[in-house]
Amino acid sequence: MTILVIAEHDNVQLKGATLNAVAAAAKIGGDVHVLVAGSGAQAVADQAAQIAGVAKVLLADAPQLADGLAENLAAQVLAVAQNYGHILFASTASGKNVAPRVAARLDVAQISDIIAVDSPDTFQRPIYAGNAIATVQSADAVKVITVRTTGFDPVAAQGGQAAVETLAAVADSGLTSFVGREVAKNDRPELTAAKIVVSGGRGMGSAENFKILDPLADKLGAALGASRAAVDAGYAPNDWQVGQTGKIVAPQLYVAIGISGAIQHLAGMKDSKVIVAINKDAEAPIFGVADYGLVADLFQAVPELVNAL
């Protein structure tokens, strides 16, 4: 049985999520191949070849693959799909965009956001915003899967020696064209990969007030996150959103500040190793999942915390 993992990258750098997807592939068992589809992406293929446990890297390099358009990327995966028993994507914006398109063309079900591999055909996945875990079995010939990255520890990025094989790129579908990209400026660690995450909620009160989290995040080397309420109120950019409809994180330490702890937020962070909540409302549901809770006004507690570190 051979497993294909679709690499997540920006044509220059392989993204960490790929390592988590390879880890899930290793749990399924079998030769692991990685597909790098991009433009000018030789460097990414070289990085993929060094991932521990990867047997072969397939590189499809063409301008129409530059921006990860779902139509072209799905067609590229389908071009080699018949060689594989499992096709794995990281459960990122890109993976979620493309995987169902591949599955539907193969006429197979797609298994979303797996958090554990029970056997090569049986997987666990969260449903109802993480309030239940479903164990599902697939009878399909090809299993198309997205992997929740926080469910699997990444494999080593170094130590492998896979050969890189070049594939013919599929033709441009002509259905979609890429117009532009607005990347949020961020010098901090990436939210989904950070060891420590500091998040603010509606309790922050304003976008200005959100800045009091900066020194705390700097001291801790943490990524900044936000609840949906804070994002909807315009206090924080939307790619900071942690929750069922935002990013799923599982850092070593998650500090929730001025966040009440709605179901939708908990779905995105309750697998964190240690959760700290700072909230002035002692009844807030966030204290139900927090390892350490501090009932205090955040505008006093946060500066105090910065000084104490």
Partner: protein, 249 residues
Amino acid sequence: MKVLVPVKRVVDYNVKVRVKSDQSGVDIANVKMSMNPFDEIAIEEATRLKEKGAASEVIAVSCGVAQCQETLRTAMAIGADRAVLVQTDADLQPLAVAKLLKAVVDKEQPRLVILGKQAIDDDANQTGQMLAALLDWPQATFASKVEIAGDTATVTREVDGGLETLSLKLPAIVTTDLRLNEPRYVTLPNIMKAKKKTLDTVTPEDLGVDVAPRLKTLKVSEPPARSAGITVPDVATLVEKLKNEAKVI
């Protein structure tokens, strides 16, 4: 142009579901059901396109049990002109729904289908993409802005790290993200008007679609519970605990 909006009846987002003790599923008997929040955004967007003159007719469609009629009435109270219910008691998975929707699209010939990005019950995030694949139409998922001009849809999408904008040739599939719009409240007069709008019912057999589930759910279990935490009296204690007890800083 016609716009088709699939909507799903799901457990209300405020309900905390309980897993059944025999692990066969979650207990949804007697809990409040509502329209999936992302689908409300989809209906709102279609209605706004109609109000701007970009769409001529908005058709809501739902697949599932007879009670999905209520969800369709809500969609019509928001602004859909008429509705189609594909009625079945079968357990519908995203691939089956995508095939049913393809059959409806083949019949109704819309130029745009707007779906929610995911349903908050199965959290699959698949149906829109699958429908796009089956129709061989372009897709723009996780949309936060949609503009229609002639035969082109320009869609801004929420992706990891920011936003990206795509240009799609119509007909096309769009799935909604939270920030696309704020759905309007349904007013009583509009609820009354919605009762008079047409709601057609068909079955999967009428559409010639096999809806047999592909994935077998072996069990549904409670997520592992977190051990109870403690409340600390002050910041100094918190820092001490994090350093010496949890050893995370």
